[in-house]
Structure formats: structure tokens, C-alpha cells
Symmetry: none
Subunit: 229 residues, 2 copies
DNA sequence: CCGCCATGTCATATGGCTGTAACAATTGTT
DNA sequence: AACAATTGTTACAGCCATATGACATGGCGG
């Protein structure tokens, strides 16, 4: 299996208990004690799933889940919430910001593993698609690389993310602010015009192979990635 | 989908939670924190639906709903009320004020999306759908594009909006001033005759495929989009 | 510590879009 | 038929959105 699981839990006792259970089930475990540390580890380690304690010091679990789900970079990562049982659960239902499942404490390791596997099974089909191809333009998420006619194409990180977003969401217009939310991340403040510049850089990189024609401007609406020209 | 939803909610946490859910469902989100701001945004942005918190600072949600439904320009916009859980009386009051549906907190994102789609389907079947088709003329709101016989058709922004409005409101006459309100937006001042010019431009674009015959002049009344010629 | 790379912002260029006015054409009325 | 009212059509000037190149900054590795 070797799938990485990120545990976000401030209580060491619980976190360790979970770790033992997961290691026995052959998962790889990464631990964070608060939302900030978790956020940092998210980008670095690209876990397959996040186990998130509802009660965290500082930013709440909900806040953290919201951040994960809002950003294109991490929104595909499933979240399982760990909640204390009680009247709180109502609130969770209402304020759920995108958790894929919940487990109320106390829970058995067996149940935890079962839930994790269930969620991974449910979401894995998306993860399985490691490469996307459009007319000779190949984006390989595994190697984090773009190929055109067996030639590797150099892209800056932002342009890579932009192209990745476009290729996974083709035939659809996105406004500059939508692109900022989904490619840059929601809690970033940048000028909308910045999108133009990165579109330009992306087009420049795609021009030698002629693929820049797929990156289309939709005046007064935004940009679109479309194979129809 | 690309339909715009106006959220009127003073509590940032809730409003943001809703935003995340809607963005994930590919809606475009506009937010207002009070009735006044909402009223201003209503005219400018012409949202497809309003999500309205029952409890608002200042003017109550109910009063705001009344205002929306009272004015010619906005009365067609459906409203979904967000209410703290309560008795039947709230429901009755809400529906009485003109709400098309209501949801009691706490609610799940899934339920919210489902209700929104249901209301949109009910009130304007065409908005909820990704594409509208009339006799080979296809308007795809997701990609913001017009297709005729697999050929993409070039339209300026205003002509696109005009055609979109017509295709979602066929078989009915609209005066120039109504068109200005609904297509241009309420607080813009332009000459009524400007409509003629854009009608002309739209017809010109539709002529090669013969679809210009659907854009019909109704003398001394306005224009109509009709499939009956 | 230096230099390179990535990024975001600004200034400017460019081209398309828009509204308006003027004139032509059509329709309706007497 | 003459006239009035309404609509069609075209040209154009200003404006606005986008494209593009240049630059300052800051991070990171050497």
C-alpha cells in the first residue's frame, strides 16, 4: 500500500495510538500537531489522505479543512474528521467544509482502518490517472513533467499548476478570480492582472509546439482551455 | 454551470463555508454582508439566484426578500432562505415573503447544492443546464461559447449576453428598456436605440447559419426570440 | 555572500468592443 | 401619396480589456 497518511492531532497520546494502528496496516505516517505545521507538510509530502482532529489549538479543524478543499493544489486530498461525540456532531453536519468522512471518538483501530480504506477506494480512481494527454501535449503528474513529442518542456511551477488545472478542467471558462482561488490558493492576495502574465508565460512555453492555441481568451469572462479552436 | 449566486450573510464563517461548497460545484459566487450591499450587487451582477440569511443586521431577510420580489427588475430571481431551525411559522413567513425554498441550519453542502439546482431547474430550466440548444444553435454556458454545426461562432460579450438572455427567455417580447435592464444591468444609462445596434450585430453573426430569423422585431413593442417564424 | 530563478506589479501598446449619431429604409396612418 | 413613426444600417471616436515587455523583490542554492 505505502500510501502516506497525514495525522493532524495535538494530543500526542491519540496521535501515537493512531500511528501504531496505521503502521500495522502498512501505511506511511506523517504527523502534525497544529494546522500550520500540517499546512506546510501538505505541500511537501503530498499525502494520500488527511486524518484531521476537529479540535485543534489555534485554527479549528474546520478552518483547516476549508483551506485544503478550496485550493486546487490540495482539494483532491480526502479528509477524515476525528470528532468528539456529542451535540457537536450537528454543527459538524452543518459546517462541514468538505470532509469525506467522520469518525467519532472513541473509535477502534479496526474501524479507523476500514474507513480509511473505504475513502481511499472511493477517491483512488482520480488519483490513478497519472497522466493527461491532449493532442501530443502530455502532462505527467507522477514525474511532474510536461512532454511534447518526446521532448520535455520547461515550465515554471506556477505555469505548471496553471496548465494542470486547465487540462483537468477543459472546455470551461474561468474568471481571473476563480483561477486565483483554484490555482494560486484562496488566502493569497495578488492582483487579478497577474493571471494575464502567467497566461502569457504559459502561452510562450507552448508556442514552439503550437499548443498555445488551446489557451484561449474569453473577453470579459476569463480564460479557457479548449481543444476546439 | 457558471451561474452566479449571490450570498447574503453577515457571518463570514458561514458565508465562506457556503462559498467553498458552491465553488466546488462550479458556481460563481458573489457575497454581500448586509441588505444594502446586496441590493447594490443585485442590479450590477444579475445573479441567477440569491441565498439569503434570515437573520441580518439592520433590515431583516424577510424585508429584503420582499424588496427583491417587488421590483420588476429582480422579481424573477429565485430566493433560498437560510434559517436557524425553527417552527413552521418561519417557513410560512418566508414563503410568504417570496422565497422559493428555504433551508434550516445546519445543512450539509450536498443538500444545499441539491436545493439550489432544484430551484434553478424549476425557475429557469435553461440556467441550470450547461447548454441550451435551439435548432442547431448551441449556447454552452460552461465554456462560454456558441456552436453552430460544430463550428464555433464569434460573438462580442454584449451579443453573447443578449443571445443568452433571448435563448433563456424565448417566445416573449421585451422592450428596449427591459432588455437594457436585464442584459446590460439596471444602473447603466445608455440610449435605447443602442439595443437596435446590438440586435443588428447579433443578427449579422447569426446570418451565415440562417438563425437570424429567430431574432424578431415586434414593431412598437421591442424584440422577441422565437422559433416560430 | 552572490547570483540565479521565479514571481508579482507596473507601464505601455494594441486591438476589439461599445455607444452614439446620422442617414436610409420600412411600416403604418390619414 | 404624403407624412409620421419606427426600425435598420453604417461609420467612427473613445474607451476598456487584454497583451506584452521590463523591472523590483525575495527565496534558494551554490
Amino acid at each position: 500500500m505505502a500510501a502516506k497518511i497525514l495525522i493532524v492531532e495535538d494530543e500526542p497520546a491519540i496521535s501515537e495510538m493512531i500511528e501504531v494502528a496505521l503502521v500495522r496496516a502498512n501505511f506511511e505516517v506523517i504527523k502534525a500537531e497544529d494546522a500550520e505545521e500540517a499546512m506546510r507538510l501538505l505541500g511537501d509530502t503530498q499525502p494520500a489522505l488527511v486524518l484531521l482532529d476537529w479540535m485543534l489549538p489555534g485554527a479549528s479543524g474546520m478552518e483547516f479543512a476549508r483551506r485544503i478543499k478550496k485550493e486546487e493544489l490540495t482539494s483532491h486530498i480526502p479528509i477524515i474528521m476525528l470528532t468528539a461525540k456529542g451535540g457537536e456532531s450537528d454543527k459538524i453536519n452543518g459546517l462541514d467544509a468538505g470532509a469525506d468522512d467522520y469518525i467519532t471518538k472513541p473509535f477502534s483501530p479496526r474501524e479507523l482502518i476500514a474507513r480509511i480504506k473505504a475513502v481511499l477506494r472511493r477517491t483512488s480512481p482520480q488519483v490513478a490517472d497519472e497522466t493527461i494527454e491532449v493532442d501530443g501535449l502530455v502532462l505527467d503528474t507522477a514525474s511532474h513533467r510536461i512532454m511534447v513529442n518526446d521532448e520535455s518542456l520547461e515550465l515554471g511551477p506556477t505555469e505548471y499548476r496553471l496548465l494542470h488545472f486547465f487540462m483537468t478542467h477543459p472546455e470551461r471558462v474561468y474568471s481571473r478570480s476563480q483561477l486565483l482561488d483554484r490555482v494560486w490558493g484562496s488566502n493569497v492576495y495578488v492582483e487579478e492582472r497577474t493571471v494575464d502574465v502567467h497566461i502569457r508565460r504559459l502561452r510562450k512555453a507552448l508556442t514552439p509546439s503550437g499548443h498555445e492555441r488551446y489557451v484561449q481568451t474569453v473577453r470579459s469572462a476569463g480564460y479557457r482551455f479548449s481543444t476546439r479552436v
